[in-house]
């Protein structure tokens, strides 16, 4: 019988990781909602940011949170570059082209990382990597708390941006009705560019803040994209609030199931749920069916 404090600890862990997953998924679902493109390379963007953060720590001894000053604008730029060079040329193409091209990007990132850093698992140790404070029955790991806090803050900032700013509204308009938005003067190509860059930046932020407690390798991207798929579908593809809810849910499910069953079995169950949602409620658990 597993003790209550172990369960609570797991829930806490789930909350923390779920917040990060939510950020990753939101970047992914934002891009899909606006441009209708499923970016298979999204998880590898997280990986790329992890490596940049790792590199900055190893060479310049820059703390991951401080290196955000570099990482965030860098990856906004990377997103913009990817959009201009590759993505904008396939926006009009069929979904199969989207999938294959972004898979190509996935392979580019993976092999670049593998080429420069090698395939070994790496990690960093900051002052707070193993610190935690005790709060009642649970120990709160600082590194994960920080990651979750920053992730949720980013989600909030993004939410405000989308709701209150002109550009944010233009983005929502384009996601809702592309032709309509264009007709009322929205610069749709620019909106696409910004959305893709924002999505990339969100992935990068998540990647940077998890480095203090994660293993870094060229192959970690796969896990992130698979989670992003599940979360985005659960929340309703294109829905930012849905991805937030879905991310937290998956965080909890992952943490709790690891107490009772093996990781791979938990994985299988998560994907079975994905299939069920796709078949019976493709607009997501939190979404609304379109007439």
């Amino acid at each position: 019988m597993i003790g209550l404090d172990v369960v609570v600890q797991a829930l806490l862990s789930g909350l923390f990781m779920g917040s990060v997953y939510a950020l990753i998924a939101i970047g992914f679902t934002l891009v899909f909602g606006v441009t209708d493109i499923v970016n298979f390379a999204h998880g590898h963007l997280v990986m790329a940011a992890m490596f940049v953060t790792y590199f900055l720590f190893k060479t310049a001894h820059l703390d991951p949170y401080l290196s955000l000053v570099v990482v965030l604008p860098l990856f906004f730029g990377v997103g913009a570059l990817l959009y201009v060079l590759v993505i904008q040329r396939i926006v009009e193409a069929p979904h199969s082209a989207h999938m294959m091209v972004t898979l190509g990007l996935l392979l580019v990132f993976e092999n670049l990382a593998n080429l420069f850093f090698g395939g070994d698992l790496r990690g960093i140790t900051t002052k707070y990597t193993t610190s935690s404070f005790v709060m009642g029955p649970v120990a709160v790991p600082l590194a994960r708390l920080g990651a979750a806090a920053v992730s949720l803050l980013a989600v909030a900032v993004l939410g405000v941006f989308l709701a209150r700013t002109t550009l944010g509204k233009a983005i929502r308009a384009s996601a809702n009705n592309r032709e309509g938005a264009a007709l009322v003067g929205v610069n749709v190509p620019r909106v696409y560019l910004v959305s893709f860059s924002l999505g990339t930046m969100a992935a990068a932020l998540a990647g940077a803040v998890i480095v203090p407690f994660s293993l870094v390798s060229p192959f970690v991207g796969h896990e992130f994209i698979l989670k992003a798929f599940v979360i985005a579908v659960l929340g309703g593809l294109g829905s930012v609030p849905g991805a937030l809810a879905g991310g937290l849910l998956i965080g909890f499910v992952e943490a709790l199931s690891s107490l009772y069953i093996s990781a791979s079995l938990g994985n299988a169950i998560v994907f079975a749920i994905l299939i069920a949602v796709l078949l019976y409620r493709p607009w997501g658990i939190f979404g609304q069916a379109k007439v």
Binding site: V38, S96, M99, G104, L107, L274, P282
Partner: protein, 312 residues
């Protein structure tokens, strides 16, 4: 075109006379990839059903012939047909369940991906097939058990499989069923309005493609002699199938072969050449291929095969 094809076939048959074991291995890998691509092409290229879960069928093929051999002593020559039949049934059941809900496009792709992931997760926890540890095959060396000590026989089996599947693809293209596949791919509503049972056509496409893919899994098991969820149920086989098909030209009988030979064959050959930094070269070549993939998909969406046949 036909003369070129005959010449290529003759050259292919004669290859083992001049090629050493290393080079033959590279060709076997290329042919194996070409076969897988052709199998995926049946569903994705002809019928437009872009499945991301074909590793499921590959894995069924690999495990079925292997388990039948281990438990019943059944020769993999027969076992692989059983594997194909099983994969076909699984494919049909999956299709029947999924198409009922009219899932298509990215949703369909994700469902199939999910199915393959579920299969991998279950396989990792299934003790009867040794879970994540996998199965190491020790064959009694006999051609009758689909095991050879030299590369030449494997090469001819792989070559035969590719030629046979090219032939099947060509027959399919000219058949009523094949035309139904194309119609469904192009426009399902218009196809239905023309009397095409799209539900049946899509299911047939998945089932056929699944069975064909399974043979590749069995070949893999007999060639590498190790089967595990990490090797046959991951996204790797799926990636191989897709890369070859999309780069070469989906929906054609030769496109997938062209694309696969290019990607897999050269990669394998590079691995065997005496470079200083073999690892770097291999990764570098994968990088180049990935960029090539993107470039081709953007500027030559019909695949490399369209270079040979320019229409006005």
């Amino acid at each position: 075109m036909k003369a070129f094809g005959v010449a290529a076939l003759v050259a292919a048959v004669a290859l083992p006379l001049v090629a050493g074991q290393h080079l033959l291995t590279a060709f076997i890998v290329a042919l194996h990839a070409a076969y897988m691509a052709l199998a995926w092409n049946v569903a994705a290229g002809y019928a437009g059903q872009f499945s991301l879960g074909h590793s499921l069928f590959y894995g069924i093929g690999a495990y079925a012939s292997t388990m039948l051999y281990l438990k019943l002593g059944l020769t993999p020559w027969v076992g692989m047909f059983a594997g194909a039949a099983l994969a076909g049934v699984v494919g049909v059941l999956l299709a029947l369940g999924v198409y009922r809900y009219n899932v298509r496009g990215i949703f369909f792709a994700l469902v199939t991906l999910g199915a393959a992931e579920v299969a991998k997760g279950l396989a990792d926890n299934w003790d009867w097939i040794k879970g994540p540890v996998g199965i190491l095959l020790t064959m009694k060396a006999a051609p009758g058990e689909f095991f050879f000590l030299r590369r030449e026989p494997y090469y001819y089996v792989a070559l035969f499989m590719v030629v046979a599947l090219i032939a099947i693809s060509l027959v399919l293209e000219r058949s009523r069923l094949g035309q139904h596949f194309l119609a469904v791919r192009e426009d399902e509503a218009a196809a239905e309005a023309s009397g095409v049972d799209s539900y049946r056509a899509k299911t047939a496409a998945i089932g056929l493609s699944a069975a064909l893919t399974a043979f590749a899994g069995s070949f893999y098991a007999q060639f590498y002699l190790y089967v595990s969820p990490e090797t046959v149920l991951t996204f790797e086989p799926q990636l191989t199938m897709m890369l070859g098909t999309m780069v070469g030209g989906a929906g054609t009988a030769l496109g997938p072969v062209l694309g696969s030979v290019l990607f897999s064959g050269l990669g394998e050959a590079l691995r065997n050449l005496p470079f200083e930094n073999t690892r770097q070269v291999v990764i570098g070549s994968k990088l180049v291929y990935a960029i090539l993939l993107i470039v081709i998909l953007i500027y030559l969406p019909g695949g490399l095969i369209t270079l040979g046949r320019r229409r006005a």
